[in-house]
């Protein structure tokens, strides 16, 4: 992140201070607990007092609804079926996009001619929000799986390509100088400097793509679908069941969080040389 050496020489010794009330009150874990409890109590209070009339469910009702969904079949499949339906779309769309976009981005950064051809087209499509493709995807591919996967591909393509491209361009030029001094060829430059140095940026792009992909799948499912977590939310909206809507929101948040954790795990395995900032 920062090039400053100073960031790496932070004093790690612990200072032991005597116990005091102030220190307990400003303890991070204590504050976290306080804020979470306060949040859920407030939510429960607002729901119980019907400030939004019957449009907000109590937290326990939401949990209850999720548990019930695991047991009964809702619109032909139980909870796991719905989760799997969304995840499957994400996995297919995300992988297709990543497989094309990352090499293309790297290639664009390495070759001026490819860049000159692809970049203007890419700049043309870049500012268009992926959700805007929903309608035309339905026109082209009908309401089946293809249109949903198409939207996910469109959505996750842009950040993947952009980050791969910038990752290569922003490689520290001194690294090239080093490998040239050591007698490396253009091939060595690409394989031993360019790719390893740009991997952290590529992975950052994958992370962004993944979160965009979840937004896209949700939008696609909200517009039109028969199964999936977005379908649960949409059905909750149509039948005015706030506990179903909130349940769907929690599920999709959990799924999005889990997949992003998976990608960071992969990142730590594949490029351990990435520098991180403490406490983030």
């Amino acid at each position: 992140m920062s090039n400053s050496i100073a960031n790496e020489t932070i004093n790690h010794s612990k200072n032991k201070e005597p116990f005091s009330i102030v220190r307990l009150l400003t303890n991070t874990y204590f504050l976290n607990a306080v804020s979470l409890i306060a949040f859920f109590l407030l939510w429960d209070y607002v729901a119980r007092e019907r400030i939004f009339h019957d449009s907000l469910a109590r937290p326990l009702e939401v949990v209850d609804q999720i548990v019930r969904l695991t047991q009964i079949k809702y619109a032909g499949t139980n909870l796991w079926g719905h989760i799997w339906a969304s995840t499957q779309r994400i996995v297919i769309g995300f992988f297709l996009a990543a497989i094309v976009a990352v090499p293309l981005g790297l290639f664009m950064a390495l070759n001026k001619y490819v860049n000159a051809i692809v970049k203007p087209l890419f700049d043309l499509f870049k500012p268009m929000p992926p959700i805007a493709w929903c309608t035309i995807a339905v026109l082209w591919f009908g309401i089946g799986e293809t249109s949903k996967v198409f939207i996910i591909i469109i959505g996750s393509f842009v950040p993947c390509l952009l980050n791969a491209y910038n990752g290569v361009r922003l490689v520290d030029p001194e690294l090239y100088d080093v490998i040239r001094v050591l007698g490396g060829s253009r091939r060595d430059e690409i394989f031993h400097v360019c790719f390893p140095a740009s991997f952290p940026a590529v992975f950052a792009g994958l992370q962004i793509s993944l979160s965009v992909a979840w937004t896209c799948v949700l939008a696609a499912e909200l517009v039109n679908s028969r199964e999936g977590m977005g379908f649960l939310i949409k059905r909750g909206m149509d039948t005015h069941k706030p506990e179903l809507v909130l349940g769907g929101m929690l599920l999709i948040a959990a799924a999005a969080w889990l997949t992003s954790q998976l990608v960071s795990l992969l990142e730590r395995k594949l490029c351990p040389w990435k520098r991180t900032i403490d406490n983030l």
């Binding site: 939004f52 959700i131 309608t135 035309i136 026109l139 979160s211 937004t215 517009v223 939310i233 948040a253």
Partner: protein
């Protein structure tokens, strides 16, 4: 490190190729539609889209409003939501970066809400606020606040510790360090957030309008789909893209003016 500026003469190919590729793209698009390779019920030719645009400037059929009204509605919603998310998100993020207590209190809730895609809030906002302006501003606010908070938080965190130690040595108070050292050094990150938040806002605006609206560019796209007029759909998409690009460009220019003295 003083580098000498070297004029590199670009090959002619490199200067021509971008234009060639753009022109080829539009020509191909026009061609596949005109020759009927892709039926015009699925895709409209660029020339048709331009014609539709000119007609839509004054004609309210088939979706009930002219182009200007749609664009104005969208821009209004986007800017209200965007301004609110900046107003709340940036100070919150800055405080979270510096004050341990604020971070301890806000972070868990923030982490809880962050992974929920903003579009998922649409049903709840429809329940709570109806399909009017408030609901959409709420969704856009949720979408925009996440990058604002994260970037200003990281920005404060990335302040060079040497500078903080130096300020301490010279006897600066915590508050002085925060306002006079951490905030300026976080500014480049904060401006990065402005761009990001805008992209998020714009994306989610379209999402919100696709599902619950009675005017706006997203609504124009939906209605185009519903009456099977691909020219209107493509027109809506292009308008959304172009206006997003214009706003992004303006922010970029402002950033360059304001951050002229700060190394990025």
């Amino acid at each position: 490190m003083a580098y000498k500026e070297v004029e590199v003469k670009q090959p002619l190919m490199l200067t021509i190729l971008p234009y060639v590729s753009i022109i080829a793209f539009f020509a191909l698009w026009e061609l596949v539609v005109q020759t009927g390779f892709i039926p015009d019920t699925l895709l409209a030719a660029p020339s048709t889209v331009v014609k539709t645009f000119i007609v839509k400037l004054h004609d309210i059929n088939p979706d009930g409003a002219t182009m200007g009204t749609h664009a104005w509605t969208s821009i209004q919603e986007a800017f209200l939501g965007y301004a609110l998310s900046l107003l709340i998100g940036i100070p919150l993020g800055l405080c979270m970066g510096w004050f341990k207590v604020v971070e301890g209190l806000c972070r868990p809730i923030f982490e809880l809400i962050r992974p929920i895609p903003p579009i998922a809030w649409i049903p709840l906002t429809v329940f709570w606020f109806g399909i009017g302006l408030t609901g959409k501003v709420f969704i856009i606010w949720i979408a925009g606040i996440v990058p604002c908070v994260i970037n200003s938080w990281v920005g404060v965190r990335m302040t060079n510790p040497t500078l903080i130690q130096m300020a301490r040595t010279y006897g600066a108070s915590d508050w002085q360090i925060f306002t006079q050292l951490c905030i300026p050094s976080a500014l480049p990150m904060v401006f990065g957030a402005l761009q990001l938040a805008l992209t998020y806002c714009w994306t989610n605006l379209v999402g919100a309008e696709l599902l619950a609206a009675d005017s706006g560019l997203g609504y124009l796209i939906t209605m185009g789909g519903r009456v099977a007029r691909p020219d209107i759909v493509v027109l809506g998409m292009i308008c959304v893209g172009v206006s997003g690009a214009i706003i992004g460009f303006v922010i970029d220019q402002v950033e360059k003016k304001l951050l002229a003295g700060i190394r990025r």
